[in-house]
């Protein structure tokens, strides 16, 4: 008896401990980044740094001497804000209407197809977005720009907008679908048309969820790096037109990190710290939306505005907007995939995929494939158990509203909001240093593992929530302990969510590049011979292959392979989801019949 109690307590302690790791990770990220930036901030001067409008660093600046370079990031803060607003204008609008379209205006096969498309958009590596943007999309818009070059604020907003669309769409859709059906029926019963019921009843009811979706979209836009570097123009000035070049905070880090001198490096870490402040602000905003959103907002609108809008049949316009948005997203995706496939497929050769890597010989991405697989394996082994345990702790062991829980939850939220390039910075000063100072697959895997935690936790928790309490009660009533209940009853039922978490994580590892460049290395290399050798994942390899313009075909081929992997992962996720759902239904029936038998 006693030993089982010890086991139970021990189990709980372990789950709590893993949950604590999330808090620890957040603290570590903030502390390390801020510690690295303090010397630079005090040398440069806090206000000069934040409000200085000249960024002209000198790599030879050291803390002991007077500064030669200028380190003011105001222009980049403004640039980041501008591009985020632009992204929200594009992606927020499109994402919102696409979600409404998915939730209310389309059914059956079409719905499924659009759903898959949105998921696919979410999975495409940002390097490919950037690649596609400068190779194809900008040609469409060059004529509009006064310099004939479309890159700058406009292109960045467009590309970032498409990139945040999946986030906005899927979250908005979820909250729309959570609105009770009776609202809709009530509206219809009162004589409203379908469009009216949707836009006047359902949408307002889902307001706080939609706001949350937009805020998460902002977070995504803020932290995006690799695509932005390719299309923003990167001159550190405030853009005074849609086609003016500008630099974002994230781009600043990735552009200068590799060669930065002492003070410059500190200034880049300070840039990271500013990004963290943005993340914190977004999380606080999110908190407001979650708690007070629905209560405090009363409907206020200008009488004149009402007059105008009452004349317009905006239900119809809304419906059209929905359709147009969904189609636009679809067209973008299809053209991206088709373009990459056309350019890449002919160049996929045996040598490229399986050839032996030789210095100066023909390109082989086999080492990158292996490095990617190694990274996937290790990060899954680390992140999945930790994430599952944390989710179990959050869902099974704690009461709602406990302080510890809310701290863990905000830690998870912050972790998911931290820009990937900041993870890269963090990995570079912690794991890389700890492991002896040189790039290694191990350091990269550890870095990405922390990034994966929030995804795993959320996805697992969702599925734990969906396990009916009666299962737990039944198991406990039969005399099983809590641990046993969790492992034998709850977890098996939550399997679909866990599998989804694994697939999502794999997708994330495949598509990320910013966190790897300063932890794993960025040159195409021979086969890694262990976790301590450096390496490049496929996404980084793509970036590198294209960079000197000597292996463009191979870069297209690599992009092609990445797209195929993302596509396959998406299909796999769907297939597994379906299979498990079926199996699960069977199983739960099984449990139910067992229960019945016992009862009788």
């Amino acid at each position: 008896m006693n030993s089982s109690k010890i086991k139970e307590q021990g189990g709980k302690a372990i789950f709590a401990g893993t949950a604590g790791i999330c808090i620890l990770a957040v603290i570590a990220i903030f502390v390390f980044i801020i510690l690295q930036s303090i010397p630079a901030l005090s040398k440069i001067g806090f206000t000069d740094f934040l409000f200085g409008t000249k960024w002209n660093p000198d790599a030879n600046d050291i803390y002991a001497n007077d500064l030669v370079g200028k380190y003011g990031i105001l222009n980049m803060i403004v640039g980041t804000v501008f591009s985020t607003i632009g992204a929200l204008a594009v992606g927020g609008t499109l994402g919102y209407f696409t979600a409404v379209y998915l939730a209310f205006f389309c059914k059956g096969k079409l719905k499924k197809i659009i759903n898959t498309m949105v998921n696919l958009l979410a999975g495409i590596p940002s390097v490919i977005y950037g690649f596609f943007a400068i190779k194809a999309v900008m040609k469409l818009f060059n004529w509009m720009s006064p310099t004939g070059n479309a890159t700058g604020l406009f292109m960045t907003s467009l590309i970032l907008g498409i990139m945040i669309l999946p986030t906005v769409t899927s979250l908005t859709k979820t909250s729309l679908e959570a609105v009770p059906k009776s609202y809709y029926e009530g509206a219809l019963a009162l004589g409203a048309t379908h469009e009216h019921a949707v836009f006047k009843t359902m949408v307002p009811a889902a307001k706080s969820g939609i706001k949350a979706a937009l805020i998460l979209g902002i977070g995504r836009a803020l932290g995006e790096t690799m695509a932005v570097v390719m299309v923003a123009g990167n001159s550190p000035q405030i853009p005074d037109g849609l086609f003016e070049s500008f630099r974002t905070l994230t781009a600043n880090i990735v552009l200068e990190m590799s060669y930065a001198g002492e003070v410059q490096m500190g200034a880049l870490f300070s840039t990271g710290a500013v990004l963290l402040v943005f993340v914190a602000v977004i999380n606080i905003l999110m908190g407001f939306v979650k708690t007070g959103g629905q209560k405090t907002k009363s409907k206020k609108s200008l009488p004149l505005w009402d007059k105008i809008t009452s004349k317009i049949n905006f239900g119809k316009i809304g419906k059209i907007a929905c359709f147009v948005s969904a189609v636009f997203a679809g067209i973008f995706l299809v053209s991206l995939v088709v373009y990459i496939l056309i350019m890449g497929l002919p160049h996929i050769t045996g040598q490229l995929l399986f050839g032996e890597f030789e210095y100066g010989g023909e390109i082989s991405i086999l080492p990158s494939i292996v490095a990617t697989l190694m990274t996937i394996l290790l990060s899954i082994v680390i992140a999945i158990p930790l994430g599952i345990a944390t989710a179990i702790f959050l869902n099974e062991y704690t009461k709602k509203g406990s302080r510890f829980i809310s701290i863990i939850r905000s830690a998870v939220d912050i972790l998911s909001g931290v820009p990937s390039i900041v993870y890269g910075l963090f990995g570079a000063i912690t794991f890389v240093v700890l492991l002896g100072g040189s790039y290694s697959i191990l350091a990269g895997s550890l870095t990405i593992s922390i990034m994966l935690l929030p995804t795993v936790i959320r996805s697992t928790e969702e599925s734990l929530k969906s396990v009916p309490d009666s299962f737990r009660e039944g198991s406990l009533a039969l005399g099983a302990g809590k641990l046993r209940t969790i492992f034998k009853v709850v977890l098996p039922s939550a399997m679909p969510g866990i599998i989804a978490a694994v697939i999502l994580s794999i997708g994330r590892v495949v598509s990320e590049s910013a966190p790897f460049m300063f932890t794993m290395g960025a040159s195409i290399k021979p086969m890694p011979d262990g976790y301590m050798s450096s390496g490049t994942t496929l996404a980084v390899a793509l970036y590198k292959l294209s960079s000197e313009n000597l292996h463009t075909n191979e870069a297209y081929a690599t992009a092609c392979i990445l797209i195929v992997i993302v596509l396959a992962l998406n299909l796999l996720a769907e297939w597994v989801g379906k299979k498990l759902e079926k199996k699960l239904n069977g199983e739960t029936n099984g449990i139910r019949t067992k229960h019945k038998r016992k009862a009788s």
Partner: protein, 295 residues
């Protein structure tokens, strides 16, 4: 309501934006000036060679506002190939047929013109090691190879040879082991790949246990890596001449010369440009290509 509001605002913005574009669409466009990111050896070399008529280096002058900065050669080439009014510069070795290379001061960018010095926009590829630490055997041997005639044969493939002092390389008498760390210029990176390949081919089993750790993220990164070398196994690559401030702390030699090609869109009628015109374009004194022909 809110949605309708949003919709109308969006429509207005679209209309206004298109009106602006319609205006912007007429008339001759401004030059879209593209440079590399700071820390790039290519940019460093470009800015130290390009001078105004008065002799002011571009590096000491201020670039015009809004010059696009990209961190890779391919982004520069891609943009120039798609933007009719763009101008940029890249290593001659990276040039492909999607863009047009300009003559500089009337001289074509060719290996011969680089070697005889008539093509002005040229820079050395520099190999650097730390002066204060003793090099490990494997690293020292590889350096010996880099200085050899065999290495120069490879250089001659795509770049301009630097034959001064090159001697025949012979394999070491005993097998070597250890790690050679290579850091620095992305422009030298492709050449280095071939050189490492050749080195391995010549030495076979003798260097089977020598591991090359090559990670190239820019010339400046190479210089700082060499300065920070305590183990004696770091080789730095720079695609720009070593500055006086850095010279005392390192041993270095030029392995090749490279031309920096000034590139424009294929539809651009321009075929020739002068150094001082380049200076004016990058500092903003010239904003349209038509101003070039009239001057």
């Amino acid at each position: 309501m809110k949605k309708a509001k949003k919709l109308i605002v969006a429509l207005l913005v679209c209309v206004m934006a298109f009106a602006t574009f319609a205006f912007a669409g007429c008339g001759e466009k401004e030059i879209s000036v593209i440079t590399r990111n700071e820390g790039s050896g290519t940019r460093d070399a470009f800015e130290s060679i390009v001078k105004s008529d008065a002799g002011v280096k571009l590096g000491d002058a201020e670039l015009k506002d809004g010059v696009l900065q990209y961190d890779s050669t391919s982004t520069v080439i891609t943009q120039v190939s798609s933007v009719e009014t763009a101008i940029g510069y890249v290593s001659l070795g990276s040039v492909d047929d999607t863009i047009k290379v300009l003559k500089v001061n009337g001289v074509e960018a060719t290996a011969a013109n680089v070697l005889n010095g008539t093509y002005k926009l040229q820079r050395p590829f520099v190999i650097m090691t730390n002066k204060t630490v003793e090099l490990q055997d494997a690293t020292a041997d590889f350096i010996r190879f880099l200085k050899s005639t065999q290495a120069q044969e490879i250089v001659a493939g795509d770049y301009v040879k630097q034959e001064e002092g090159a001697v025949q390389y012979t394999s070491p008498s005993t097998a070597l082991s250890g790690t050679v760390v290579i850091r620095g210029s992305t422009s030298v990176d492709p050449l280095m790949d071939v050189l490492i390949g050749k080195y391995k081919e010549i030495n076979g089993n003798k260097v089977a246990n020598v591991e090359f750790q090559k990670d190239c993220q820019g010339s400046s990164a190479g210089i700082s890596a060499v300065k920070g070398d305590t183990a004696g196994n770091v080789i730095g690559l720079s695609s720009s001449a070593i500055k006086d401030a850095d010279a005392p702390s390192m041993n270095y030699f030029h392995i090749a010369l490279d031309a920096i090609a000034v590139i424009v869109n294929k539809n651009n009628e321009l075929s020739d440009i002068t150094i001082s015109q380049l200076f004016d374009i990058y500092t903003g004194a010239i904003t349209k290509f038509s101003e070039l022909s009239s001057k």
